[in-house]
Symmetry: C2
Subunit: 374 residues, 2 copies
């Protein structure tokens, strides 16, 4: 295990841990902002490393980037020439996590199934074939190829190529078949990275999928646990399932995951879902929701979400929230943010995205501090 | 004179001066970014007060906001309730200059003359009537009303209501008539503000117009000079005239302006025009160009402008410029900025707008430092 992971506090299933990788120490549970195409939309990375902007004690140590988008544009070879993502994006002092690329491939697949037409994605036993969203050109991802792409990007925490089965119009047998492909791919990725592992700066997580099938998830967790040298991810939740289904699946899956390695719940990013999942024993989260909501004029608040375009905020000279100490909450009123949204001024996207990710960051920091003090 | 203005260096017509207003010291010549609708598009005001982001010794002490836009939305009464623009926009520690509102009224007028249709603007002897760009509602600006609006906004340096005549399809006689209206308005504004002047925090500049008519400009400069208690503005240059016409008009107008008060050339904002004008004795500049160019993917550079969408920058891993030390030039390559522009990522607008205004800020700071050291 390369991630130097140590326990700071454990209470029932919940835990405060700390890991060290490539000279960077990360306390978990933690939330990672998403920097889709080599930028966290609307934000300077300097804001995410500056407690003055975040209103927290700590900066963001971990940020996620999308392998699929970066592979297509500007291409991992260009980023490699630039000295890797860390240098390309001015992310010299923090860790970079990249996903497997599958979810974006899957979105195309879903689109394809829904809209019909020429097939854009072909799932084979040893690779997935897909077409670029930009120019329709043909590409393929293999288990080892995706390791290479993420290596060229300069990732610190990489994901193994997986299949994320659609939810509708699919039999359980077909889901099970796709699961076995994922398991085979994980084994191939593992065998490919193992001889390189000692010298590399990265670590590699497998991903447990299979939506609401608790039995498949349990089997997959056990199988993939063998390849989880430094951590393991859980995905295909927080999509269409209900809150109670999500809770049930986590309760039934987490006991089958390795206990002594970080557990990363992909794509989860509301304050409520995070609160529920950390008590189940999840350590890491990422989601585009905070920045996406921000760009659409909506802010996280202690009493649900605040939609700033509403006329009720026109003369509301109070802070966005009382609890958050981010730059937005400290210096601007709801009336000002309302004005920006109504006037379509791009600054609102920056101010609200900053607030939303700072809000989750502080929620987790406060939770860790409370746990440590308890 | 309320602006405490003192000479630091004078060389021929060029000058380095310093003024103190409301506790803020400003060195001139200086450039002011434009914050149209209560925001400098795409930038946090904290970046403009932070030498780390600007790569200069000094922050921006002066920023311009548009009276017309703020009057219509969110309205000067709302801004007054919010505690004034300084508080509303998180601009507590710097000065705010507001324009007279005429130019935006004029843009409508021009549109009206070009496109025909129902009249949107009516110029009367004692006021100008116009319709809102938002909902067509009828409004009017008077010389004293515009002082009141800017007072409610909480401006530090205000402009007197003026008429800015169109360039085409107008006789010189009609221009002269509009000039005499401006002179009458300036007198009215002067008589209105005089009894309030001692207690107020603001100062008020008249504006010399009349495009390429040197004789009208000279007459207007002499007439309006009488109302220029703290400074005077020059406008209606840098629009359609040639570089040599601009130089000629400045040469012929500036000698008629008060020598011991700041001279503010409105709407000028290319490095070349600024360089020419400071040698003529201009002290203040503003322009939307740096932020507008930035949002359109173009950066100021020492060898003309850099259009980042060009394919030649795809693998150009050099800094945006060698001379500027702004956040963008220090931390990002042309290849990264090219990638952002091609991917339509909003961060490019922020990074390039920041660079462009920092570039002008540094140009003027270097020029002042060289003058002071010579």
């Amino acid at each position: 295990m390369k991630l130097d992971f140590r326990i700071l506090k454990q209470q029932w299933n919940a835990r405060v841990w700390e890991f060290l990788l490539n000279g960077v120490t990360v306390q978990t549970p933690c939330f990672m902002p998403v920097g889709t195409k080599a930028t966290v939309k609307g934000l300077l990375l300097d804001m995410l490393r500056d407690p003055k902007y975040l209103g927290t004690q700590s900066p963001f140590k971990l940020i996620l980037w999308n392998t699929y988008h970066l592979y297509l544009r500007p291409g991992e070879q260009l980023i490699k020439k630039a000295g890797g993502l860390h240098k390309f994006m001015h992310r010299e002092d923090g860790l970079i996590l990249t996903d497997s690329g599958w979810f974006q491939v899957f979105s195309l697949w879903l689109w394809d199934k829904t809209k019909g037409g020429k097939s854009l994605v072909k799932l084979m036993d040893h690779w997935v074939e897909f077409r670029s969203i930009h120019d329709g050109s043909k590409h393929m991802f293999t288990p080892s190829g995706v390791v290479d792409i993420q290596t060229d990007l300069g990732s610190d925490i990489m994901m193994m190529l997986d299949v994320c089965s659609p939810v509708d119009n699919i039999t359980k047998d077909e889901v099970a078949r796709q699961m076995s492909i994922t398991h085979k791919w994980a084994q191939q990725a593992y065998e490919y990275f193992k001889p390189r592992y000692e010298d590399a700066r990265w670590v590699l997580f497998p991903i447990v999928q299979w939506w609401l099938y608790d039995d498949l998830r349990a089997l997959s967790a056990q199988t993939l646990g063998a390849y989880a040298t430094d951590g393991i991810a859980i995905w295909w939740l927080s999509v269409w399932e209900t809150k109670s289904e999500m809770k049930r699946v986590l309760e039934n899956t987490l006991p089958h995951l390795p206990k002594d390695k970080p557990r990363y719940l992909m794509g989860v990013g509301t304050p409520e879902d995070i609160e529920m999942a950390i008590w189940q024993g999840v350590d890491m989260f990422d989601c585009v929701l905070p920045t996406r909501l921000g760009r659409h004029g909506t802010a996280f608040g202690p009493h649900w979400q605040i939609k700033l375009s509403n006329a009720q905020y026109r003369e509301d000279f109070s802070s966005l929230t009382d609890t958050c100490q981010c730059h937005t909450c400290t210096h601007y009123t709801r009336a000002y943010l309302h004005h920006l949204v109504r006037e379509n001024e791009m600054l609102w996207g920056t101010l609200l995205s900053l607030h939303n990710i700072a809000y989750l960051h502080k929620q987790l920091e406060d939770w860790r501090n409370n746990m440590l003090a308890s």
